[in-house]
Amino acid sequence: MKLTLTNGQISLTEKRRLLKELGGEKARWVLQTMHTIRAFEEKAEELYALGKIHGTMHLSIGMEASAVGSILALQPDDLILSTHRGHGHCIAKGADLKRMMAEFMGKACGYCRGRGGSMHIADVKGGNLGANGVVGGGLPLAIGVGLGLKMEGKRRIHLCFFGDGAASNGAFHESLNMAAIYHLPVVYVCENNQYAMSFSVKKSCPLERISDRAAAYAMPGATVDGNDVLSVYAAVRQAVERARQQCEPSLVENVTYRWRGHSKSDANRYRTKEEIEAWKAKDPIRRFEELLTAESILTPSEAQEIKEAAYRSIDEAAAYAESCAEPDLDTIEEGVYA
């Protein structure tokens, strides 16, 4: 891909250009959405601790730029497939926070009527074809979504998220190969957060960069600093253009990190506190906020207001979700067949 990167980042000049192009409103949306994702997950954690959410969940705190920067490059009617660590994708794609939180609480008014929970939230009307409890589970589906959109002929494109762990699965190979040979409008976004559960990407992949595997499919690939929202945007945007204009797939790797454990049952035995702290210092939200204030797009107090608005929206969502009813037991078998 035609990207000039230093340490995975586009230049400051390029960032300025992009900010200008995006305009203040979009920039605000980016910041607020990243805050919203974090606020959502912090709230979910809190409610989990209180026993109001059960099961398990996979938090993406620290990875917000990957979700938001990627989806910023899409049109509203483009389609995404998400992952088990998909709350950020869902929110960035425009999901209703209330229905999302209600789903976490297993309520009838949740996106899945309480059937799915964190791992299966979908917002089909909003273009999110679903999180996935199976690692790499979305990758084979991406072939079909790409085929369907290509046949439709409306130049809609598809963005498929997956993790560094999923890149070791056979599904990755079949999906990228078929997208390449059929010339499908698919953007593959690998969120490399360094680990598949406890298995370091350094162990699972013999290459420096997962995006170098794009070459095996004659596809362009790029690896960007996944904690830099504008670099993510710059890379994914190119891939989106290629998908939309040339109907060809690409692979973008967002290098990032999850601050929390893998799921609700992780003792963090496979990594050090120092490593976590070092990554926390690269907080994608703080970095973008600093850029916006440095570039005088926002004042610090405006930035603070945006953050507060995000947290408020989550409080409202949680309150709404708590007020929702449990699914009716009589409806238990609904939805198995159409």
């Binding site: 059937r115 979908a122 589906l141 079909g144 198995v336």
Partner: protein, 330 residues
């Protein structure tokens, strides 16, 4: 339009062609289904009519095929996939079981996954252990999937059209040994109800419930049995899931004896489901003898012709089992 005698595989091809003509959302995808016509020639010629955009050859990527039909269905298409041999649905099963079958339910009913996945099952071709399996019960066991296994050209066409128009993922299992069998099929498109068994032969002495090619063998067995004065009723469930339990139960109430025949390995097979359905129904009170399962041996299909022949039920085995059951010698 009129009814002609055509083969089972021609009937399937005709259903595909007519649905593709009717509905631009229908397309085919699978290995070598284009110029090669598929492993058994079922799709032969369709690529000439519909082009490579709607008759899509794939690499050897069974998971990819299953994913492709699932994903395309989510975008509103109505794909028909093909897995060349049922043995290879193992490679596709994650997408079928964890994705396609569950998406609608997991998403609270807000998505539909309308596709058909065609695949041939069974032994009898000398293709040995990895090309001869019958794994229908795997998918019968998965909520969210429908499973159809037609046994006549007429049923094949009507049920395939119904399956394509159905809004759920449907596994459409074809019987290799039936591809060349002929029967009357109306030219025009028609559908048969999914979930309706057919009594393929009336009889009062025992009920034979058979799957796939075993329906044909059971009918042949019934002819022989008739010469001995035993009148076997032969039931073809046609759609294994949803199952038309009522037709089976009523038959067993009438005859008091049930013989289940399939070629899949006996243990853990669909025969267990059928036996249980009968044993837990009101037919229980009418049973005059144990429920008998005649099924494939619990072993892989061997290559040698004679061994292969003796691995799955043949007409003479059905005759013998039915005779014993009719005479209450079990």
């Amino acid at each position: 339009m009129s009814t002609r005698d055509i083969t089972y595989s021609e009937a399937i091809r005709e259903a595909l062609r007519q649905e593709m003509q009717r509905d631009p959302r229908v397309f085919l995808i699978g290995e070598d289904i284009g110029v090669y016509g598929g492993g058994f020639g079922v799709t032969l010629g369709l690529i000439d009519e519909f082009g490579p955009e709607r008759v899509i050859d794939t690499p050897i990527s069974e998971l990819g095929i299953a994913g492709a039909i699932t994903g395309a269905a989510l975008t509103g298409m109505r794909p028909v996939g093909e897995i060349m041999f049922m043995d290879f649905v193992t490679l596709a099963s994650e997408a079928l079981v964890n994705q396609a079958a569950k998406i609608r339910f997991m998403f609270g009913g807000e998505a539909t996954v309308p596709f058909v996945l065609r695949t041939p099952m069974g032994s009898g071709t000398g293709a040995a252990a990895q090309h001869s399996q019958s794994l229908e019960n795997w998918f019968v066991h998965i909520p969210g999937i429908k499973v159809i296994a037609p046994t006549t050209p007429y049923d094949a066409k009507g049920l395939l059209i119904a399956a394509i128009r159905d809004d759920n993922p449907v596994l459409f299992i074809e019987s290799k040994l039936l591809y060349k069998t002929k029967g009357p099929v109306p030219e025009e498109p028609y559908t048969l109800p999914i979930g309706s068994a057919e009594v393929k032969r009336q009889g009062k002495d025992l009920s034979i419930i058979a799957v796939g090619v075993m329906v044909k063998r059971s009918l042949e067995a019934a002819e022989k049995l008739a010469q001995e004065g035993i009148q076997a009723e032969v039931i073809d469930p046609r759609t294994l899931k949803p199952l038309d339990k009522e037709t089976i139960i009523q038959s067993v109430i009438k005859t008091g004896k049930a013989l289940i025949v399939h070629e899949a390995a006996k243990t853990g097979g669909y025969g267990g489901e059928l036996a249980a359905v009968i044993a837990e129904s009101q037919a229980f009170d009418y049973l005059e003898a144990p429920i008998v399962r005649l099924a494939g041996r619990d072993m892989p299909i061997p290559y040698n012709r004679t061994l292969e022949y003796h691995t799955v039920p043949q007409v003479e085995n059905i005759v013998e089992a039915a005779r014993k059951l009719a005479r209450l010698e079990v």
